[in-house]
């Protein structure tokens, strides 16, 4: 948390983010990685909204997607920083 607090993006700067997709989402979009710039304030919810607009195939999954930021599950209210590794996690089915 300390590190994130330090490198907070300036208010009107766009955050450059890499978003990882897996399983059904990767198949629907046809790619495993999306790079996008998110205008401030860059939150998880804003990211999901923008992805649903840019990639209509993702829209139906928005209600069941859990965000992982830097490999940790997080609430959509999370503030995203430039360089964060964001992943969209649909309900898992390992085991």
């Amino acid at each position: 948390m300390t590190e994130r607090d330090v490198k907070t993006t300036a208010p009107h700067e766009a955050a450059q983010l890499r978003v990882l997709l897996f399983s059904v989402l990767r198949e629907k979009v046809g790619r495993g990685t999306l790079d996008l710039a998110l205008p401030a304030p860059a939150t998880g919810a804003a990211l999901l909204d923008q992805l649903a607009r840019d990639y209509p195939a993702l829209a139906p999954y928005r209600p069941i997607v859990r965000l992982a930021v830097n490999q940790e599950y997080t609430d959509e209210s999370v503030r995203l920083e430039a360089g964060d590794e964001v992943a969209l996690i649909t309900p898992v089915s390992g085991g």
Binding site: R26, I64, Y73, T74, V92, S93, G94
Partner: protein, 156 residues
């Protein structure tokens, strides 16, 4: 750390190696769960499964779940091994095992780990049916936020 074996691999899983890893002089019991590919689910015939993972996070979540188990039970050794890629019918996709001083806690900790893995670890399976069709399997609910998982303290 040498008491925990976490692995994602495309190779066949070796249950004997898992049991050998878990054996330790402090243990009275090892509980192992092996998940295998089932041919029939209702009317549908499965030929094989294929697993996809967010690998670095999956390994990290597995370690976190083992740490949770260690907080709740006297887990001396633990392994969580998951196969990725294609797993034919009757072969193992996952091996979870724990060693504890007594048997009741071995069963409980092993059961916790496989249940939590199926809810939390970012791995997904795709069914390849005998009729040629395929389908990603979706779990019943999104993974819980870490704060939502009952903590060891809350349980006591």
């Amino acid at each position: 750390m040498e008491d925990i074996w976490i692995e994602l691999t495309k190779e066949a899983l070796d249950v004997g190696a898992a049991a050998a890893f878990l054996a330790t002089p402090g243990a009275g019991g090892l509980s192992l769960f092996v998940g295998t590919t089932r041919r029939w689910t209702g009317e549908q015939e499965t030929e094989e499964l294929a697993y996809d993972a967010y690998a670095p996070m999956a390994e990290q979540e597995m370690r976190r779940l083992v740490a949770q188990a260690q907080g709740r039970w006297p887990v001396l050794k633990a392994c969580v091994l998951h196969r990725l890629g294609v797993v034919p019918v009757a072969e193992a996709s996952v091996v979870v095992g724990v060693a504890t001083p007594h048997r009741a806690e071995a069963f409980d900790a092993c059961r916790f780990l496989i249940d939590a893995l199926k809810q939390q670890v970012p791995i997904w399976k795709r069914e390849h049916y005998a009729d040629g069709s395929t389908a990603w399997v979706q779990g019943s609910a999104p993974p819980a936020l870490q704060e939502e998982i009952p903590s060891p303290e809350a349980d006591e």
